[in-house]
Chain length 374, copies 2
Amino acid sequence: MATVRAMIQNGRVAVAWPDGRRAEFPAIWLRDNCACATCRHPGNGQRLLDTLDIPDDIAPVDLELADSDLHVIWSDMHESRYAGTWLRDHALTPEARNERRSRRTLWGAEIANDLPRGDWAEIRRSPEAERDYLARYGEFGFGLIDNVPAKNGMVVEVGNRFGHVRVTNYGAYFDVRSVPDPTNLAYTAVALGVHTDNPYRDPEPGVQLLHCLESDAPGGESILVDGFRAAEDLRHGDRAAFELLAHRHLSFRFSDRDADLSARTPVIQLDDDGVVAAIHFNNRSAAPLDAPLEEVEPWYRAYRRFARLLRRPENELRLRLAPGQLLMLQNDRALHGREAFDPNLGRRHLQGCYVDKDGIASRLAVLSRDEAAA
Amino acid sequence: MATVRAMIQNGRVAVAWPDGRRAEFPAIWLRDNCACATCRHPGNGQRLLDTLDIPDDIAPVDLELADSDLHVIWSDMHESRYAGTWLRDHALTPEARNERRSRRTLWGAEIANDLPRGDWAEIRRSPEAERDYLARYGEFGFGLIDNVPAKNGMVVEVGNRFGHVRVTNYGAYFDVRSVPDPTNLAYTAVALGVHTDNPYRDPEPGVQLLHCLESDAPGGESILVDGFRAAEDLRHGDRAAFELLAHRHLSFRFSDRDADLSARTPVIQLDDDGVVAAIHFNNRSAAPLDAPLEEVEPWYRAYRRFARLLRRPENELRLRLAPGQLLMLQNDRALHGREAFDPNLGRRHLQGCYVDKDGIASRLAVLSRDEAAA
């Protein structure tokens, strides 16, 4: 069997694997990531090594390979061991960096034929079913759960199974139905264009659950749009517009008797590699744009172009929620809206709550870990 | 009395105030921010006007001024009124944009002489005292509250007065004291360098409360550092280092039996005008840097330079919390740490919880509004 090879090159450690893959590891990076029991806490994995204590001129002085593990002796006399698979998984090549990105599939109206979907009883019974559901939710940014008992407050129970429900000035959950004197347009019967919820919060809600309790009013169909796909459409169609929406922050605001919330965020949020990380779009709560004068007209052209992309029928998933169905949305990706409904001819009652993203991602990670160990 | 003047110039509305201030408002911006009852919901202030419904060639066709209010007749036949003070407050000039920034004062060790501070009984009794405390907290990014009854779970009561406590895998609150087999280094007696809490969460906690219940162990002094000031020091001393930490994201991770949390964020987070908006610094939970190879060594030089600035004695506020004192920290600005303590010679017991930023900012805004109306 061909083996891993390693050599010192210009102060870096160069590693080559049998399949031809190669990677270089800078000395400071490798030393800082030493996993020995004095550098990392064996129980919780936290770094005990103070990165500032590494000498400026740290350098590998000797390498040894045993069973694909790399053993490094450092100029500060420390010795480190790195598993070959760990090195491969953490390599800094474009190829390895790309492989570490979480899986994401952009979608349009055609996703109606194969919805990311789970069954509540099944999810509760089977860790595999729960993991599969959460993985699909993560890939597409939304999921539908069937057979969630249509009872009051049930949405909070679902939220707390996957993560932690966030309490806001709306409480732990809120009722979406037509009421007199609404403080929010959501609580009327009018149509709502697709939007992300509450961009006026800091932090913005990461995940929204919407549980259907009653639905016999004519109209009120739900509309979902993949904001990441619309953003990519904009990037390809008008790069300058895309970059303006990615750079300039827009303020959002909500104010009623008891609350006055505001936050600033770009409409299209990118990560450090230019990948779309989040969408913040809510025309109802957008505050006056606070930008240098010369940016205003170009920004509006960009914003209106993006808004038109979000409204293209081929980007829209339309579905009519039935009592007992629960929609789970990555709030900053899967924009949602609804058609108007007639509250005089029937009822439409949803209950919603917000859950932080990290708890849900953690649950998926733990379920996947258990799976791998099984 | 000199009056406000307005004229149409190149499709924009130019306004001049008696004190010589001038501002231009682009037609699309002004039309989009019409505040009439058909464009904005009179009750909740949400925008009813669909920004896409504004014609591409929207233009002001006539202006009129009455009592400093600007009346605009638009090419789409719509009529709008804008209060002169509203226009002034929302002008897009550099001067007006700068005035809208929230007040912020950078600090170092000298702040020990004039701590932002409040008294719990006073805060509960007097809305002015509460507003003043929250305003000082907002300006400096931390505050100390005296006379908070040293009883179990009290920290949650304080958190829920100002905002909404966030429940995480640590529960609604957590105990910071030395325990056997800790899952986190915070739960030992070792010194902790200054850090922001839980950058491995998405969203990261915005505000942390730390309530002292017991404190007679030798050592255990608290250390606070203004991360915004250290970032400005870096910007002035080494602009390239500053920009690297502001651009490249670092991953953070925490993993124990029940949770596996990870998030990516820059160490120094800027807003769209280049102003420092947040610091994310936690050497214990920093995961291996995932960056293009050629950035790694420069990034480490920048990171270590920033870490040294955070450790300069003139940047450190040191204080010894007494039972009944509660420290409230803007987690992404006021870094905190502690000296080691001796758990064999006494006790040190803090209880902590996380609160979302928006609820606290909302409370300050509502208290300030009530004040203005009084």
